[in-house]
Amino acid sequence: MFDNLKIVWHQGKQFIPDVTTEQVPGIFRGRPIITNEKVDEEAFVELCPTKAIGSSSICIDLGKCTFCGECAVQFPNKIKFTTDYKLSTNIRERLVIYEGNDKPIEVDPTTVRKEIHRIFGHSLKLRQVSAGGDNSCEWELTASNNVQFDMSRFGIDFVASPRHADGIVITGPITQNMAEPLERCYNAIPEPKIIILAGTDAISGGIFADSAAIDRSFLSKYHIDLYIAGNPVHPLTIINGILDFTRKKR
């Protein structure tokens, strides 16, 4: 008993006081900035493993990017990754970063369904489904509720049964073999409900986008409420994304 208390005492305060302004350590690859510098466009576009770099007007689609950092190593004057971890939005196009654009990625509150703030603004229970996820986004979703990130202080929790949930968080490119279980899980969640895609694999299929073993038809059937970019998604990206989505006022 006293030994346990001693450990508690030694641990001190571990939680991050303000998750919206916390700085991440090191060289985290968050929102990139693309300069107007002229580069060999073909080589620049060609090098990306997931075709995330677009030509004509040069851009990077963070829904496809695996955040490998290779483009920034080969073209250091053209592209820089900042440590801005706020990479979540409800509008898919906002994940596309254009040349010369240094604006934060945000949720557009005017397009969030009316009932979201009222019903989920103070309590949100989510069911997670890994559908071909490689277990890195899953680890980070778990970490977002550890003693440091402590997402449940905002009333956001993961629950075991879809019947207790207000929405679903999908990771992975959605394999053929998970297509049906995913659909059944979603159907078991009562209305109103939301769908969140967490990570590059879920948003675009990532490196698996053109695999014959995946089936993404589920996504074309339903409205996607929130895209959280990352490979894997950072806990701060997750928490800020969900908070922006459920609490930002019009």
């Binding site: 090191g26 060289i27 695996t66 489904v129 996820g133 890195s136 970490a143 075991a160 073999n177 998970m178």
Partner: protein, 500 residues
């Protein structure tokens, strides 16, 4: 000679691998393993040719540090006698060959679907039709769990047959995570695409799989990595081991409802994964390990940071562990729970930390060392003999200490790092390469075969989970079903690494 002798990360000509008649092939490989606990099958797989199938069998000898490779050509519609009937090491491998190529085995004891791969030979059955073992009884009942589980984990289906609270039998059905990784390795021809695939095989083993791929690719392309690359891979492998083992200790605490341990171990994982971010920009070391180069040089400042992190980590970790491993309420949940005996471990062909908890000395760092293992320090595997949950948990704690010691050893001598440059790699033609790495979970094996133009003809991946899922099923027999979660966590196997 019935087999070709080679070493870890060696590239050989595919034509030098003996092609045996199936009867000889079978006899030779069974003989190699007979009464030899130091040997096991690290890979056994088929490759489709125009009209037939070639199977390659790779046996590792831990004492001689060698690999024995042999092959046999099978007709596409062959019905054969199975190796599994005589040695259970081959059980999963033969199921995979059966599923992918339609080879039939008349005496395989458990010839069930393997992962329902998209390119399986029999598309008439789908993942919902898996033929579970079942029993007609008034007293026994079945419990089905999954594919979607209660927590934030990957999907797989577990079917228990229980007598009251007691588990008599568990069958584990996998395949839900199948993404077609091996086929994509052939379709995607750019090196960065393949490296990206390797780092997504199992996101909790990014370093393990990217290191295996990089070592393999460099060998296949006749490129010798310099000291800085070897250093980075060895250091990153040990850091990954520390990070995941720490997270596993937290998860074990959660499963036995020891909240303090869950919180403290859970938060102790953070400085280690954050260090990966400081070094390479990603908490899971994605983007860090690449063939022929490293984009993020390891600097003396990083070395200082890591030393400081270890000081703070060890203080809290030791205090927590001392308490955790002496609490009667903890020990009573872990000791004598989920036992796998060393005979069973041998029969299953277990690898990695789970095998070492059951008395098997299986550790690639010692038996088939690569990178800086041996060169910078001699690794001596830590072994437990009881094979219970406690052994697997305690071994994690001991391996964390060992890995920190190795990291500190590496930090004494930081090599010069070159500016990253893209090497124009070209694989040799008609080659065979095999790479083994000891990831935190156990032995990772990648095999590559090239055609006459030096293009990849086959890329075979084996995660340690491939062997160990059967061990989990074995471990829970006669245990209470309420002990299943803690047994499961003590193995912490990969679904996506198995399903590919």
């Amino acid at each position: 000679m019935n087999y070709l002798e080679m070493y870890n990360n060696q590239t050989v000509s595919i034509n030098d691998i003996p092609k045996l008649k199936y009867v000889e092939f079978m006899e030779s490989n069974l003989q190699l393993l007979k009464n030899k606990p130091e040997r096991h099958c690290v890979n056994y797989f088929g490759v489709k040719n125009e009209n037939n199938i070639t199977v390659y069998c790779c046996i590792a000898d831990d004492n001689k540090h060698q690999l024995y490779i042999s092959s046999s050509i099978l007709a596409s519609d062959a019905t054969l006698s199975s190796l599994t009937a005589q040695n259970h090491n081959f059980e999963k491998f033969e199921r995979e060959i059966h599923e992918n190529f339609g080879i039939a085995y008349f005496d395989h004891p458990w010839l069930k679907p393997f992962r329902f791969s998209h390119n399986r030979s029999d598309k008439n059955i789908s993942i919902a039709d898996y033929p579970f073992y079942s029993t007609e009884s008034e007293e026994l009942h079945e419990v089905g769990v999954g594919p979607i589980h209660a927590g934030i984990i990957e999907p797989g289906h577990f079917r228990f047959i229980c007598n009251g609270e007691q588990i008599l039998h568990l069958e584990i059905q996998l395949g839900y995570q199948h993404r077609g990784v091996e086929q994509l390795f052939l379709h995607k021809t750019k090196l960065l695409e393949r490296a990206t695939l390797a780092e997504n095989i199992a996101g909790d083993t990014t370093v393990g799989h990217t290191t295996t791929f990089s070592n393999l690719w460099e060998s296949l392309c006749d490129f010798t990595p310099d000291h800085s690359l070897q250093f980075s891979r060895t250091l990153a492998l040990e850091l990954e081991r520390i990070a995941i083992h720490t997270g596993d200790l937290a998860a074990i605490c959660a499963d036995i409802a020891y909240q303090l341990g869950n919180s403290v171990y859970g938060r102790l994982r953070t400085p280690i994964v954050n260090f990966f971010q400081e070094w390479g920009g990603n908490r899971f070391a994605k983007g860090l390990i690449r063939p022929g180069k490293i984009n993020f040089p390891f600097t003396p400042e990083l070395a200082q940071r890591l030393s400081d992190i270890f000081i703070a980590y060890e203080r809290d970790f030791n205090e927590m562990s001392e308490q955790f491993f002496s609490l009667p309420s903890v020990l009573s949940r872990l000791e004598k729970t989920g036992i796998v005996t060393s005979d069973e471990a041998l029969e299953i062909g277990m690898v990695g930390i789970a095998a070492r908890s059951s008395g098997l000395v299986r550790d690639i760092r010692y038996s088939h060392p690569n990178n800086l293992y041996i060169k910078s320090f001699m690794h001596k595997p830590k072994i437990k003999i009881q094979g219970d949950v406690f052994s697997r948990v305690k071994l994690r704690e001991e391996e964390i200490h060992q890995s920190i010691f190795y990291c500190k050893k590496l930090l004494e001598n930081i090599p010069e790092f070159k500016k990253p440059e893209n090497i124009p790699f070209s694989p040799g033609s008609n080659k065979f390469t095999l790479a083994l790495t000891e990831g935190w979970r156990g032995e990772i094996c990648h095999c590559a075969i090239t055609d006459e133009n030096g293009n990849l003809k086959n890329y075979k991946i084996k995660d340690p989970s491939h062997h160990n899922w059967m061990a989990l099923a074995q471990s829970v027999r006669n245990n209470e079903i309420s002990d299943f979660p803690v047994c499961n966590k003590s193995f912490n196997l990969s679904y996506c690494g198995h399903d590919l």
